[in-house]
């Protein structure tokens, strides 16, 4: 049932936004950004999936002549998800390394204390 996936992905996105908006710990904020990403990734793969579908390995002529029957799983969303996972991992890594350096400089990871730029 795809509907479960859709609901799960929107729940993940909502939880991620909730974390980013309410948690004061910078590491938790980074994790929240990750949750948003995972939710979107789940959404994309779910769009491409067809229940009972096969691997998408055909010649175009097979499809046009009706040799290949039934559906196959759309490969494009999977490619998109892979790209997006890689990008997401980079965002996490970069954000965490910034948090480490912020901790060294400010001696805190509390968002209320990391606020020298304001106004």
């Amino acid at each position: 049932m795809m509907i479960v996936n859709y609901i799960a992905s929107f729940v993940l996105i909502a939880l991620g936004l909730y974390t980013v908006c309410t948690k004061k710990n910078l590491i938790k904020i980074v994790l929240g950004m990750g949750l948003i990403d995972y939710g979107v990734n789940l959404l994309i793969v779910s769009f491409g999936f067809n229940e009972g579908g096969t691997a998408p390995i055909y010649q175009l002529s097979d499809l046009l002549n009706g040799v290949a029957s039934g559906y196959f799983v759309d490969p494009v969303p999977q490619a998109l998800t892979l790209t997006s996972i890689v990008i997401g991992a980079c965002v996490e890594a970069m954000a965490l390394s910034l948090v480490i350096m912020i901790y060294r400089k400010y001696r805190s990871v509390n968002a209320d204390e990391v606020r020298r730029l304001r106004g």
């Binding site: 904020i29 998109l80 968002a111 990391v114 106004g119």
Partner: protein, 637 residues
């Protein structure tokens, strides 16, 4: 050589040299500079070579990666597609990056780990160029992500400076929320239309929007809103432009936020073709007006040169979004023209700020003064930029702002909606406040009394002056030769934005657009009524005489080293009346404290909103996204 390959070559060259710089140039400065300059020069040449075909003959240039052309009416491969709108922005991109690269050589030479700097710089340039040239919406997302990474890393590059890490972190959090929104929108769009090619999407979506595509549209508009840093997504922009190395700030303010604007124009006009909806027009106009107003009022309260420029940058983007949101040809012309002008004059202003920072060692407005004596050329360039951004003729800012006011007022007359009258007036007031704010900067940095510690400040080196000179030249040229700019740059771009048949047919095969029911409406070239040469000449003489009088009058005190114990408190120094101070400097950064005092309630709210706490910023962003989604759902279905 085949002209079709040029766009891809230009993008690939920049990415390739990013790696080459890291491999060969991390130790030796000459190799590093050579690779960077060659890369940006050649990619600029490749983009300029497209001008005759695209802007003059009106062709569209397309390239399919790996020759994956559309099969059975579906675009599977990744395509690059350059129409006049793309090329208009691509020209701005290559010019900005070329000037910034030249400036970087002198400006950055005392920093360490410069190999990393140029790698990030070239990655940034490649991604922004790729973003404006691509014809594939997912490729666009990837480019946005590379752009965000490179910008964040560049913001944190001088990580010893106060606030650099913090600014970078905030930029990354807000930026990645924007990217996620974009990706979610793209996913929904793919689920509904089964294609990622923007030309095909445009053809499919011209049939009308379903609830899924409206949701996708709302998410994508919000995503590009984040990338163009309109209010209330603007907070990380102010932080990062202020703390990044100035050559990078110039690129952020000149091109990175303009990439968001490009995405917005591409989406609302071409992919979704929804600019006829008055609700969408009103949404963009209200956000734009809010952006220009909040930006300029925040700028008035700043005490730091670069942060002040950053808020002005936000404010000018507000003009562009407002003009684009009007949905008329006139508005679009004004918006594109202002986007171009903003790249020129804001780049120039950031470069002068960089020169001040490099030579005088600070950008704190309270600690500067009288630099015109020591840096006359920089002062001249700064004045050109300040006049341009404040909309003083004959500079380019005047021409584009004038068109924007005209467009907003025409809209008010046509639609009979009082909102647009308010918007026009707001635009004028914001322009006046911009001028006020730049008078303050001029006074605080370049005029007034020279401080003792700055008595031996020198002009910046030639390689830093050259980009400033070229930009000042372009600022005046764009203002003086507006008809030519309009004919060869703006009109083709506007035409390509409104009439997308060519764009679709070039990618998907002839007749595809007609089959989807997309037709062309011929666009008239915008006529300009304001440009009377005689009036301009009179004005020029008046301005010249006034400037001469001001300079003569100030000649005695200008550049004099400040006397011992002269300034105690700038607030009283400004309005001394029979007090003990007979001779004192006007406190530049507090020039408008009376204004600030009258608006105390407003500034109290603004201080609370710009608290510096990252969760407050994310809250504002999420609420704004919610508003955009709800408004679109109510009015567009």
């Amino acid at each position: 050589m085949n002209i079709q390959n040029f766009p891809v070559l230009a993008v690939m060259l920049l990415f390739l040299s990013a790696f080459l710089v890291e491999i060969f140039g991390s130790k030796i400065a000459a190799i590093r500079n050579f690779i960077t300059i060659v890369a940006v020069t050649v990619s600029a040449a490749l983009i300029f070579a497209l001008i005759p075909a695209v802007l003059i003959k009106g062709e569209v240039i397309s390239y399919w990666m790996g020759n994956w052309e559309p099969v059975a009416g579906y675009a599977i491969g990744i395509g690059y597609e350059v129409d006049a709108l793309s090329l208009f922005f691509a020209l701005l991109v290559v010019c900005t990056f070329w000037l910034s690269a030249v400036y970087s050589i002198s400006y950055m030479k005392d920093d360490h780990h410069l190999g990393h700097y140029y790698t990030l710089f070239l990655m940034l340039s490649g991604s922004v160029l790729g973003l404006v040239l691509t014809g594939d919406i997912f490729n666009m997302f990837v480019m946005i992500e590379i752009m965000t990474f490179a910008s964040v890393a560049l913001t944190a590059f001088r990580n010893g400076t106060e606030g650099a890490l913090e600014g970078a972190f905030k930029y990354l959090v807000i930026g990645s929320i924007g990217s996620s929104l974009n990706l979610a929108g793209i996913a929904l769009l793919y689920a509904e239309c089964h294609t990622l090619n923007m030309a095909q999407l445009s053809a499919i979506l011209s049939g009308g929007l379903s609830p899924t595509t409206v949701m996708a549209f709302a998410l994508i508009v919000a995503g590009f809103g984040v990338k163009s840093y309109m209010v209330p997504f603007h907070t990380p922009a102010a932080d990062s432009y202020a703390v990044a190395p100035t050559a990078a700030s110039m690129v952020f303010s000149g091109m990175v936020n303009k990439a968001g604007v490009y995405g917005m124009i591409r989406m609302v006009y071409i992919v979704f073709r929804a600019m006829d909806a008055s609700a969408l027009q009103m949404l963009l106009v209200i956000f734009g007006t809010l952006t220009m107003f909040v930006g300029v009022t925040m700028a008035l309260a700043q005490h730091e040169f670069k942060r002040l420029l950053a808020y002005h940058s936000i404010s000018q983007i507000g003009y562009v979004i407002m003009a684009v949101g009007l949905g008329s040809t006139l508005g679009l012309t004004g918006g594109l023209f202002h986007a171009m002008n903003h790249t020129l004059f804001k780049g120039l202003l950031f470069l002068t700020a960089g020169a001040v920072l490099k030579q005088a060692g600070t950008t704190n407005l309270d600690a500067l003064g009288g630099l015109s004596k020591r840096m006359p050329r920089t002062t001249l360039y700064f004045l050109a930029g300040a006049a341009a951004i404040s909309g003083i003729p004959p500079f380019n800012g005047f021409a584009s702002k004038w068109i924007i006011y005209q467009a907003a007022y025409t809209k008010a007359v046509e639609s009979g909606n009082f909102l647009y009258v308010i918007v026009t007036v707001a635009g004028l007031i914001v322009s006046v406040m911009t001028l006020a704010s730049f008078i303050k900067v001029t006074q605080a940095v370049f005029f007034g009394q020279l401080r003792e510690e700055h008595a031996h400040v020198q002009e910046p080196p030639f390689l830093m002056r050259l980009p400033m000179f070229l930009m000042a030249l372009l600022c005046s040229a764009a203002g003086l030769f507006y008809p030519l700019v309009n004919r060869y740059l703006l009109h083709p771009a506007v035409d390509a934005t409104v009439n997308v048949t060519n764009y679709i047919d070039k990618m998907m095969g002839d007749g595809y657009a007609a089959a989807a029911g997309v037709t062309n409406i011929p666009v008239q070239e915008v006529q300009f009524s304001f440009w009377d040469p005689l009036l301009w000449l009179v004005l020029f003489v008046v301005v010249f005489v006034a400037a001469a009088v001001v300079i003569m009058a100030g000649k005695g005190s200008r550049g004099r080293v400040l006397e011992e114990g002269a300034v105690a408190d700038p607030k009283y120094a400004t309005f001394f009346s029979g007090e003990q101070e007979l001779y004192s400097q006007v406190g530049g950064s507090d020039l408008f404290w009376g204004f600030k005092k009258n608006w105390k309630a407003y500034y109290r709210v603004m201080d609370k909103l710009h608290s510096g706490i990252v969760t407050d910023y994310t809250n504002m962003a999420v609420i704004a996204v919610g508003v955009i989604v709800i408004v679109m759902f109510i009015f567009l279905i």
